[in-house]
């Protein structure tokens, strides 16, 4: 390419790219591929154990002990006060739910839209969904003043003859998140079955064999089983999309339904969904980068083309996010509410004004300046850095909405600034837990849906044999 003097247009570049750069055009024998995945799962270096040990220590100290201390002492050890009753815990809830969205988005929407390049990373993204929801759940519990009474929020008959209040957005939230956790776990599990069966067949005894045996549900790969599985997956892929959109809309209602300046806004639903995708896409990029560089053989499965796909999505979502973000400005401007105006001024000119600028830099400047370039998009480390920055930006965005925004209420006498306390430790602990869970999962289940990759490659092979128009497998589905 270097020999060509003038820069290539995109189409031109595609034509001149090595087709073997595409995973689907670079098939390996199925046995070999299975072998590679199994090896990546089984071969564990000392680095892994060191990292696991370190993360375990962090989780025990920063999460388990800190949480115990928080429960025993009360929320006074956190940074919440009046009027900032909600702090980083709720920021984390929204953030992690946001992260969890991209997983489903990628696998369900891309599956429904039959995007070929999704194949190797759907699993990693779905796992992120489930683990992200676990983090979000923990954050909710940390936030509660009396977490040991959580069960009062469950609608079960009891001696007090009391129901929970379904008028409360928090109840909607509880319902939505529980539904989403259940359905996303199911949706993670279904495509996992053939891979678990593969792992079962390639494992020689031991607890692993039992583990896979139980989870594979006796899958043997017969025609009928495949048919049932694909039907189930299709149903879930379609059904989970509205669930996903509804969950983050409902999360946004926690804020939009409150009568607070700056929160009570009709645009919050789509704005939160887009925000969630923004951080989630970026998180997928980070996870893929990490998997590619830490897991054996994964460089074969995860290729620049996949980063390209993610990068394009990130770019698109970033633009949509910017649109909604500034929409959020226009609504109060048009409404002329003095308090909402103060809310925005507070974010821009208050003592923590720099957070607002960092957020805009990370969420808009970074993606727009990196992701437009195809070559840069295909550079994994660059994309990972962009992903980290976007996540920082999105976390800050929630931080500005929640603890920063809570300073501004209709009683100026009470305005106070929030200074985080034990939340910092717990946030670190939560991140550590996420990575720890991911690392443990990487030892237990194949993080590459290897059957999907093989399916895709076969479909491409079919097309290649003979020059006639032969539909791909995904078309046949």
């Amino acid at each position: 390419m270097a020999a060509i003097a003038k820069p290539l247009s995109r189409r031109h570049a595609e034509e001149h790219e090595d087709p073997r750069e595409h995973l689907m055009h670079d098939p390996l024998p199925r046995g070999k591929m299975n072998e590679m995945v199994m090896e990546a799962m089984h071969e564990t270096g000392w680095k892994f154990w060191v990292a696991t040990g370190f993360l375990t220590l962090v989780v025990l100290g920063a999460l388990v002990y800190a949480w115990y201390y928080l429960i025993m002492e009360g929320l006074g050890v956190a940074g919440v006060n009046r009027p900032v009753f909600w702090g980083i815990f709720l920021v984390n809830v929204v953030f992690w739910i946001g992260i969890s969205h991209a997983g489903t988005f990628i696998s369900a929407i891309l599956r429904v839209l039959k995007v070929e390049s999704r194949r190797p990373f759907t699993r990693a993204a779905e796992l992120m969904t489930t683990f992200g929801l676990v983090q979000a759940g923990f954050s909710v519990f940390m936030h509660m003043g009396r977490v040991w009474l959580t069960y009062w929020m469950f609608p079960i008959p009891n001696e007090r003859m009391l129901w929970p209040d379904f008028h409360s957005p928090l109840m909607w939230d509880l319902m939505a998140i529980t539904t989403y956790l259940l359905s996303s776990t199911m949706y993670l599990f279904l495509p996992l079955i053939p891979d678990l069966a593969m792992a079962r067949d390639r494992t020689e005894g031991g607890w692993r064999k039992t583990f896979y045996k139980i989870l594979a549900l006796g899958f043997r790969g017969t025609e009928g089983e495949w048919k049932n599985l694909t039907t189930a997956m299709n149903i879930f892929a379609f059904a989970i999309i509205p669930v996903m959109f509804s969950v983050h809309t409902i999360v946004s209602w926690d804020f939009a339904m409150a009568s607070r300046p700056g929160w009570s806004s009709t645009v919050f639903g789509p704005y939160f969904v887009i925000g969630a995708l923004h951080s989630g896409m970026a998180a997928v990029a980070i996870v893929l980068f990490l998997l590619r560089n830490t897991m054996k053989h994964y460089k074969y499965f995860i290729r620049p083309e996949h980063f390209d796909t993610i990068g394009m999505l990130m770019f698109m979502v970033s633009m949509a996010w910017a649109y909604f973000y500034f929409n959020d400005y226009i609504v109060p401007w048009y409404g002329g509410d003095v308090w909402a105006k103060l809310f925005q001024e507070w974010a821009e000119k208050g003592p923590h004004w720099y957070l607002w600028y960092i957020m805009l830099f990370c969420n808009i400047v970074v993606p727009w300046s990196i992701l437009w370039n195809r070559k840069w998009r295909r550079t994994p480390w660059l994309l990972a850095i962009a992903g980290i920055l976007i996540n920082v930006g999105m976390w800050l965005e929630r931080y500005i909405i929640i603890p920063e925004g809570l300073t501004i209420n209709r009683m100026p006498f009470t305005w106070r600034v929030y200074v985080p306390g034990i939340e910092i430790a717990l946030t670190i602990g939560l991140f550590a837990l996420f990575f720890l869970l991911y690392m443990l999962a990487s030892r237990l289940i194949p993080l590459i849906p290897v059957w999907e990759v093989q399916e895709g490659q076969e479909a491409h092979l079919i097309r290649k044999i003979g020059k006639a128009e032969i539909s791909t497998l995904s078309d046949m589905e």
Partner: protein, 724 residues
């Protein structure tokens, strides 16, 4: 008695069963986990789960407000105002409300203690030994070398000690308190004496006035009888149909009282007297009457320049006076606490004479005496305290009895009270709390808390003569004993003239002897045929008072002819700023050991739990000082450190600090908290012997340290990010 006592119903003793049921019903968290033990030997009638209410008197300051205390099963659980008592008519201030935290203060002196002046280990003793000590102190010393130092309140104990001192030939007991110092009571009564020829507390009928000009008098905060003044203030504002009283405050900083004024006129400290005279002259000119002699020599334009106030403002105020029916001028606070304080007070009284309101509705009167009192005893002025200190230094005091006052804390340390104690061979404190003075004594023979004791107290400022009655609302909590009982028992033990001086079985017998002249008085709030019934009614109603006001009009003749020249006050020290100490409206002189008083926001700054230095933001900006910076405030007498509050409503040349914190002892809530501004006051008295506490100039230096003041307000919304 057991130290841990029941917090709630005896009937709700914690049991294992209760704990189980609490956990099973998910209720554990909201219920208390306090150890419950029954109250020993509770009388049967307290077992019924109903509340009993007792009328008594508030002892948090000397105003003699009546209280009704709600008790339940032997615990005092809520203080309410006694609606019958004419002083407060059922109302209370914050300090009165928090008096229970004094009663149940964890730091109270629980036993008679041989203290050894805080050196070495304190040892407990029993009451017999304690009485022995007091008896010997009385008997073995020459009566003229016995000194009694007591709190401001004119109560039964003061009467008892006066009788004792009188009978044995000891000097009369000295009453003192920081509040009386900041109120400048001596100056007020001296001014009355000079102008009216009658030593008494002037009475200002704020309630019926329609224009109040207050010269520094912080009557809504701590001044003399804040609850009754606040009541009167409300009456002045909204009590009369269609006529809202108008209120102007002359003060160099916006105090809580000034914040309620319609106009706050920040004067240069020490010029209040001149301004009063200038207004007098302007009023006379506006009314086209002859200018009385008192005001003749005054040039209002010159005064306005001196006082740093616009002449138009003074003219405008004079016009307000002309337009009003019942104008009233009140002197007090920092205006009187200057070297020219007496002349200022006289000038303001003369201004009232110019208004022609002596003895008129909404004007100036003379307060009546208490029902069982024949002449006005005012608390000692700081100069008289200095005399006592000199006497102590000269070795003319062999034994010092201290009750109800904490001079080590309340007197400016420059007076040297603490150092002088070493010249007194024996110091016996009757303190309820381990305050600084008690700690520096030989013995502490703890008195009951006010809510545990008998007594009566005269209201000093009230339109009716009031004797507010006190009775125990709970049985004593600790091994304490009424000081009156101790003195009576000691006097009996000492025998001879001592026993003759106090021929009473106990405190109650003494109180009855003092009440007996009132039996059968037809003008009183109740009529009883004999003393026992009288006593019972006295307790039931929370005191005895005359039904009708007994105010007398001051003699105005001399007021307008006397030549007055308050001039500008002199200030000691080379400092750049005028220093204005004021009594914290919420903590007062002795509230620092009550946690809820500590947590109450100061009405103007909303600061809690600490001392602050009020400074104009402009001044601070010039000095490079920001909010919460700890600064050192230095006078010629010393220096204190406290954090800065940038207070927008204070003159740029004035530094103000609240008094009430800065204890070195006085329990865990008070000790080591804040700073005591009286420690940088130098010793200058006015002509009446009151301390010129506002007559000091100070310098301010940044220390480089910071301490975040615990404000109730959000600094952000109130000052920094303001909604316009």
């Amino acid at each position: 008695m057991s130290k841990q006592l029941s917090r709630r119903d005896f009937l709700k003793l914690a049991t294992a069963g209760a704990a189980t049921s609490a956990v099973l019903t998910g209720c554990g968290p909201a219920s208390r986990y306090v150890k419950r033990e029954p109250y020993m030997k509770m009388p049967e009638y307290t077992y019924n789960g109903l509340s009993t209410y007792y009328a008594t008197t508030c002892r948090e300051c000397a105003a003699a407000c009546g209280l009704v205390v709600r008790t339940m099963q032997g615990r005092a659980i809520k203080v309410e105002g006694n609606a019958e008592n004419p002083v407060n008519l059922g109302k209370t201030c914050a300090r009165g409300q928090a008096t229970l935290q004094g009663l149940y203060n964890p730091d109270r002196v629980e036993n008679p203690t041989q203290q050894g002046r805080g050196k070495g280990a304190a040892s407990q003793m029993d009451w017999d030994a304690a009485i022995q000590v007091v008896a010997e102190a009385l008997k073995n010393n020459d009566p003229s070398e016995i000194a009694f130092l007591m709190g401001t309140a004119p109560d039964h104990l003061f009467d008892l000690v006066s009788d004792l001192a009188n009978a044995i030939g000891a000097p009369a007991p000295v009453r003192f308190g920081a509040l009386s110092m900041f109120e400048s009571r001596a100056t007020l009564s001296r001014a009355a004496e000079e102008l009216f020829g009658q030593s008494a507390m002037p009475y200002f009928d704020i309630a019926n006035s329609d224009l109040v000009l207050s010269f520094g008098a912080n009557f809504l905060e701590t001044w003399i009888s804040p609850v009754s003044f606040t009541r009167e203030y409300a009456q002045m504002r909204r009590g009369k149909p269609r006529k809202r009283g108008y209120f102007v405050q002359f003060e160099s900083r916006m105090s809580q009282t000034a914040a309620k004024a319609d106009e706050w006129v920040p004067l240069r400290p020490g010029t209040e007297g001149l301004v009063a005279l200038a207004i007098g002259k302007l009023v006379a000119e506006a009314k086209d009457t002859a200018v009385p002699a008192s005001f003749e020599a005054i040039d209002p334009a010159e005064v306005a320049r001196t006082a740093d106030v616009k002449l138009e403002t003074l003219e405008h105020i004079a016009q307000l006076v002309v337009d009003s029916e019942h104008p009233l001028a009140v002197p007090g606070g920092t205006a009187v606490g200057q070297t020219n304080g007496l002349a200022t007070a006289e000038s303001v009284l003369a201004l009232n004479a110019q208004f022609g309101n002596y003895g008129m509705t909404g004007g100036v009167y003379i307060s009546p005496l208490g029902p069982n009192q024949d002449e006005y005893h005012r608390p000692a002025s700081p100069e008289e305290m200095l005399n006592l200190i000199w006497k102590m230094k000269d070795g003319k005091v062999k034994v010092l009895f201290i009750h109800g006052v904490n001079p080590v804390f309340e007197l400016p340390s420059h007076l040297g009270f603490l150092d002088t104690l070493q010249y007194v061979p024996q110091v016996i404190s009757f303190a309820t709390f381990p305050d600084e003075t008690a700690v520096a004594s030989d013995y502490i023979f703890p008195d009951h808390h006010g809510l545990e004791s008998w007594g009566y107290q005269r209201a000093v400022v009230s339109s009716q003569p009031v004797l507010s009655g006190a009775q125990p609302v709970i049985s004593p909590f600790f091994n304490t004993r009424a000081t009156a009982d101790v003195l009576i028992a000691a006097a009996q033990q000492a025998g001879g003239q001592f026993a003759e001086a106090l021929p009473f079985a106990d405190e109650v017998a003494f109180i009855q002897s003092k009440l007996s002249p009132l039996v059968g008085d037809p003008d009183g709030s109740f009529l009883a045929p004999e003393i026992n019934m009288f006593s019972a009614y006295f307790q039931q109603h929370g005191g005895w008072w005359k039904n009708d006001p007994a105010l007398s009009a001051p003699i105005a003749s001399g007021a307008l002819t006397k030549k007055l020249d308050p001039g500008v006050a002199e200030f000691s020290g080379e400092g750049e700023f005028f220093f204005v100490p004021f009594v914290s409206p919420t903590i007062g002189e002795a509230g620092a050991n009550k946690p809820w008083l500590q947590e109450l926001p100061d009405p103007t700054t909303t600061v809690t739990w600490n001392t602050w230095v009020e400074m104009n933001p402009e001044t601070a900006h010039e000095l490079g000082i920001d909010n919460d910076d700890i600064v050192e405030v230095m006078s010629e007498a010393g220096s204190v450190q406290a954090a800065v509050y940038l207070y927008p409503a204070i003159r740029p040349d004035v530094i103000a600090m609240p008094f009430g914190q800065g204890h070195t002892a006085y329990g865990q809530f008070a000790a080591g908290r804040g700073a005591n501004p009286v420690n940088i006051l130098s010793i200058h008295f006015n002509a009446a012997g009151d301390l010129a506490f506002a007559g000091v100039k100070v310098n301010v230096k940044k220390t480089g340290r910071k301490h975040e003041l615990a404000r109730m307000e959000g600094k952000v919304g109130v000052y920094e990010f303001r909604k316009e």
